[in-house]
Every structure is written in structure tokens, then in C-alpha cells.
């Protein structure tokens, strides 16, 4: 296990390094001239050239890459071109707020999704199962951006129950206000994912329950509760674990939309700001952070997968 972990960690570092090259490459394909963006539309060509030289934009790409990457290694994320302020504190603050949103949502998705899925699977065909299945179909289908608009329309504009903005600082009015502002964004983020996870858990649970070894266990007279907990659950949760890791990515994507609409000052908003304003250092730093978080989530999923499935022996071939 330790060897496997070490190998996977090395792989993650490798992926991140490759990612830094990929992102750097894509970002430098972005159309638009950075110097113009900073100096504004009516900058004189001489001023544009002077700034380009100052920022090192005329150096060959590998040189620029190395300057950026070596800074990255020493923890220097550079300075936002558009805002003229250091990037690190911007990213750290925004990431903290996004992490809160993501953590609450993911915890809800995992707990509610798995619980609902198992309940449906073990109560197949009952009214509850049918209602849940129907709800799953519906919630998987509602796009976040449409859902945002609908919940704002209903809960904020028509009913006036909840604030339409997604953020208020904790220091500014206490936990209750802070939590009230989080309800709509979290609701929007999790509805589709809970449906996704519970549906997957249900179908893999049903499959497992009908597989031979469960039938065999039942035939041997193992109590149903034990069959579920000891035999069915670990196998049934395998696809769920993979999907949860994928869902971290969907969640991060959803956060981009949700943060924009609910005025939540997180990493997603910062990334959109960076793309819109062509703030290359900010965009690079933001993408690297997102990628790192996501790679780690996938690593955790892989480790869990390996830990739960006894047949996969940490990367050795199953011959």
C-alpha cells in the first residue's frame, strides 16, 4: 500500500507538471494583447512596446514558462496584471470561500446521495423508490444555470424567503445570516449531483444484490443486514466512489456558474474575471490551484477504490 501510494503521488506530481505546461500553452494561445488590456484602448504603440518589454512578453515562450514555473515552485504566484496586486492573497481568500461551498455541497452529496440510493435499492418498487426515481430523473436534468434562475425567481423574488446573494462575511452578522445566504447556492449545486450519485448507487446496489455471491451468501443463511453491510455495500460503492471524484469536477464547474450568479466571491468568479480580462498570471495561478485540488480528489478516489476492492492489488496485473 505504501509503495502504491508513493507511486500514485509521484504520478500526481507528474500530472501537475504536465498540466502546468498544458495550461501555460493554452493560456498563451488566448487571443488579445496583454499590454493593450493593461494600458487601455488608446495606448500609444511605444507605451505598449515598453510595457511588453517590462513584462518580458517578448521573450521566447520556454523562457517565460520557466520564469513562471520557477516562481510557482518558490510559492510566488506573481502579480495580477489587471488589478496590480499580488495574486497569492487573492487566490487564498477566494479558495477558502469556494472550499466552504464545495465542502458543504460534497458532504451533502455523498451522504444524501448514497443514503437515498441504498434506500431505493433495498425498497425497490415501493412508492418511495418510485418517487425518488422520478425526482432523480428531474434533478439530473435541470441545468445549474437554469436552476439558479428558477430558485432566485421563486425563493428570493416571489416568496422573499431567502436572500438572492450567496455571500456575507461571517464577521458581518453572524452564523445565521451567513448560513441563510448559503442555502440557495448549495441547493443549486447539490440537487443534480445528489440525483446522479443516488441513481448510480441504486443501480449498482441492485446489480450487486442480484449477483451470484450475494445470492450464495443469502442461501448460506447470512442475515440480510450482514449481507448488505459486509458483502453488498463495499462492492456496490465502487462505481459511486469513482463518480464522486468525477463529481468533484462537476462541482467545481458548477461553482463557476453558481458563484457568478449568486455573487459569491470565490475561485470560480476569479477565474472568469481572469479569462474576461485576459489576466494571464491570475488565470494561470487559478487554473493550477483548481487542477491541483482536482488531481488530489482523484487520487483520494483511486486510493479508496483500491482499499475497498480487494481484487485490485495496487496496480499489479490481475493475472
Amino acid at each position: 500500500m505504501a509503495g502504491y501510494l508513493a507511486r500514485r503521488l509521484v504520478a500526481v506530481v507528474g500530472v501537475l507538471w504536465a498540466m502546468s505546461i498544458l495550461i501555460f500553452g493554452i493560456v498563451h494561445l488566448l487571443p488579445g494583447n496583454v499590454a493593450y488590456m493593461i494600458l487601455g484602448e488608446y495606448a500609444l504603440p511605444a507605451a505598449v512596446q515598453a510595457l511588453e518589454a517590462k513584462l518580458g512578453l517578448n521573450d521566447p515562450l520556454p523562457v517565460q514558462y520557466w520564469r513562471w514555473f520557477s516562481g510557482l515552485l518558490t510559492g510566488d504566484l506573481g502579480q495580477s496584471l489587471v488589478m496590480e496586486r499580488p495574486i497569492a492573497p487573492l487566490i487564498v481568500e477566494a479558495m477558502g470561500r469556494s472550499a466552504v461551498l464545495a465542502a458543504i455541497s460534497l458532504a451533502l452529496v455523498a451522504v444524501a446521495g448514497i443514503a437515498l440510493g441504498i434506500h431505493s435499492a433495498t425498497h425497490r418498487g415501493t412508492l418511495v423508490d418510485r418517487v425518488l426515481t422520478l425526482a432523480q430523473y428531474f434533478f439530473i436534468a435541470v441545468p445549474e444555470f437554469f436552476w439558479c434562475i428558477v430558485v432566485i425567481l421563486v425563493f428570493a423574488a416571489w416568496l422573499g424567503w431567502l436572500p438572492a446573494t450567496g455571500y456575507t462575511p461571517l464577521a458581518d452578522g453572524g452564523v445565521l445570516r451567513w448560513a441563510a445566504h448559503l442555502i440557495l447556492p448549495v441547493l443549486t449545486l447539490v440537487s443534480g449531483l445528489i440525483a446522479h450519485v443516488s441513481r448510480l448507487t441504486r443501480s449498482s446496489m441492485i446489480e450487486t444484490l442480484e449477483s451470484n455471491y450475494i445470492l450464495a451468501a443469502r442461501a448460506k443463511g447470512v442475515p440480510e443486514r450482514l449481507v448488505l453491510r459486509r458483502h453488498a455495500l463495499p462492492n456496490a460503492l465502487l462505481p459511486t466512489i469513482t463518480v464522486l471524484a468525477v463529481d468533484v469536477g462537476i462541482l467545481m464547474g458548477g461553482i463557476v456558474v453558481v458563484e457568478s450568479i449568486f455573487a459569491y466571491p470565490g475561485l470560480g468568479r476569479l477565474l472568469i474575471f481572469a479569462i474576461e480580462n485576459h489576466d494571464v498570471p491570475l488565470l494561470l495561478a487559478g487554473m493550477m490551484v483548481v487542477t491541483t485540488v482536482y488531481a488530489l480528489a482523484n487520487l483520494v478516489a483511486d486510493l479508496l477504490y483500491a482499499a475497498v476492492n480487494p481484487r485490485i492489488r495496487y496496480g499489479r496485473s490481475v493475472a
Partner: protein, 283 residues
């Protein structure tokens, strides 16, 4: 269980499949012949008819330019269907073979595939789509390709994880013990048994592809106005959402109906195809 008994036990088509297929068929039909059904041109303005609520003349009301919302939604169905099917086909055709290969060849090749997957999968789909579309001028086919590429790694991963599970199964190990070749095992043992989960996933993937395509349009990176792609229609309706909610609700609800019915088709197919659901174990 004998073959005859199995035939006799074959259940009728699942109701989910029938319901889903009927609705999808209706939407496809509406997308194809809809523009002839509607007496309104989806692009023509009518200043005096602006922001009218749904009525007998305009079933879904009119938008801020007095355009008929129904006519625009009908036209938009083509885009959403096209993006969903096109992109999923791309990810399926590229992703599944890669995934099977990666599961089977657990040497440098499998490693290379999975590291490539890790690389692409490390960018959340919407951000990858945004990056791809941000560096090029947006257009319909670029949206399709971008969404397709975004989902290749996920398809690969799912196919691999399904195949990995199957590789550990006794019947595959038995085939290996018989000395069967890689292609035989992949094509004859793994693929037929891998289909059901892949089909379920594909149905989900179509939904996600339609979703991502419309989300990108919503963010301004996909189709361009006056095109009536549903995500774009919803985005454009935002300033009027309280005054004239029908402008955004109509395409939004249609999008949801399309996605639900595509999902139903997937679920129905799964019920139909998955041998385990018919009570047959494998091996």
C-alpha cells in the same frame, strides 16, 4: 436457465424506454418539422407585440423584440440535439476503446493512456470547455468538438473501471487461462458484458453533453445570437426573468424535458439490455 426458458421470460419493452423514446421522438420531430409548423419567423421583430404572455396567438409568449418564443424554442431544439448527439458520439468513439485498452494493457501503454486521461480530467469539464472555446472563435461545430473532447477522458475512465471489474471476474480469467488473445478477450468477453454500464453512462453523457453545450452558450462561449440555442435563450432572458418569465422558462423547461426523456431512454435501454436485470448471471 435454458435458452427457450429465457426467451419465454423475456419481458415486454420497459415502460421507461417507451415513454422516453416517445418524448425524444416528439422533440426530434418538432425540431425537424417545427419551423414549418410555426407561422412565425424566429428572427422577425414585432415592436407592438413585445413581452406578451403566452396566448392563443403566441403559445409561449413573445420576447423583448416581439419574436415568437415557441418558434425560437423549436429552432433551438435542433442545436441542443445536435450538440448532445455529436459530442457524445465523439467521446464514445474515442473514449471506450481507449478505456478497454487501458484496462487490459496494464503496462506502459495503459499507464500512458491513463496519465493522459488524468491530465485532461484534472481540469473540470466546464473550465476545459471554456479554455478550448476561449482560444478560438465560437461556432456550432467547435462547441460540439469541445464538448466531445471534454468527455473523452471520463468515458475512458468509466470503460476502464468497468473492464477492470470484468477482468477480475472468473469467466475472463478462465478465458485467459484458455490462452485467448487480447483482442478476443476485449471484443468477445469484455465488450458484450461492458455494454450495459457503458450504455447507462452514455445516456447520462448525452445529458451532460447537452448540459455542457448549453452552459457554454449560456456563458457566451457557444452559439452566437440571433441563434436560438436553448442555453443562449435562457441567458438572454435573464434581464426579463421577473417581468416576462416565459422567455426563459420555455426553453428551460424544454431543455429539462429533453434531458429527462434522454435519461429515460438510457434507463429503459439498460433494463432491456442488462442481462443481470433479466435474472441471468454471467459466466
Amino acid at each position: 436457465m435454458t435458452v427457450a426458458a429465457e426467451r419465454a421470460a423475456r419481458p415486454p419493452l420497459p415502460s421507461t424506454l417507451i415513454m422516453g423514446a416517445v418524448v425524444v421522438a416528439l422533440i426530434v420531430a418538432a425540431a425537424i418539422i417545427g419551423p414549418w409548423l410555426s407561422s412565425y419567423d424566429p428572427t422577425v421583430f414585432a415592436v407592438r407585440e413585445r413581452l406578451r404572455p403566452p396566448s392563443a396567438a403566441h403559445w409561449f409568449g413573445t420576447d423583448e423584440f416581439g419574436r415568437d418564443v415557441l418558434a425560437r424554442v423549436l429552432e433551438g431544439a435542433r442545436y441542443s440535439l445536435g450538440i448532445g448527439l455529436g459530442a457524445t458520439t465523439i467521446s464514445l468513439v474515442l473514449g471506450v476503446p481507449l478505456g478497454l485498452l487501458a484496462a487490459f494493457r496494464r503496462d506502459w501503454m495503459g499507464e500512458a493512456i491513463m496519465r493522459g486521461v488524468d491530465l485532461l480530467i484534472s481540469i473540470p469539464p466546464i473550465l476545459l470547455g471554456m479554455l478550448i472555446l476561449a482560444v478560438t472563435e465560437p461556432s456550432l461545430w467547435k462547441t460540439v468538438v469541445a464538448v466531445g473532447i471534454v468527455y473523452v477522458p471520463i468515458m475512458t475512465r468509466i470503460a476502464r473501471s468497468v473492464a477492470l471489474g470484468l477482468l477480475a471476474e472468473d469467466f475472463v480469467q478462465a478465458a485467459r487461462a484458455r490462452g485467448e488473445g487480447a483482442f478476443y478477450i476485449l471484443a468477445r468477453e469484455i465488450l458484450p458484458n461492458a455494454w450495459p454500464p457503458i450504455i447507462v453512462e452514455t445516456a447520462l453523457r448525452i445529458t451532460f453533453a447537452i448540459l455542457l453545450g448549453s452552459a457554454l452558450s449560456f456563458l457566451g462561449l457557444g452559439l452566437q445570437p440571433p441563434a436560438s440555442e436553448w442555453g443562449l435563450l435562457i441567458a438572454e432572458s435573464r434581464p426579463f426573468i421577473e417581468q416576462a418569465p416565459w422567455i426563459g422558462l420555455a426553453p428551460g423547461i424544454c431543455l429539462c424535458i429533453l434531458l429527462v426523456s434522454v435519461n429515460l431512454v438510457g434507463e429503459g435501454l439498460r433494463e432491456l439490455l442488462d442481462p443481470r436485470l433479466r435474472g441471468r448471471g454471467h459466466g
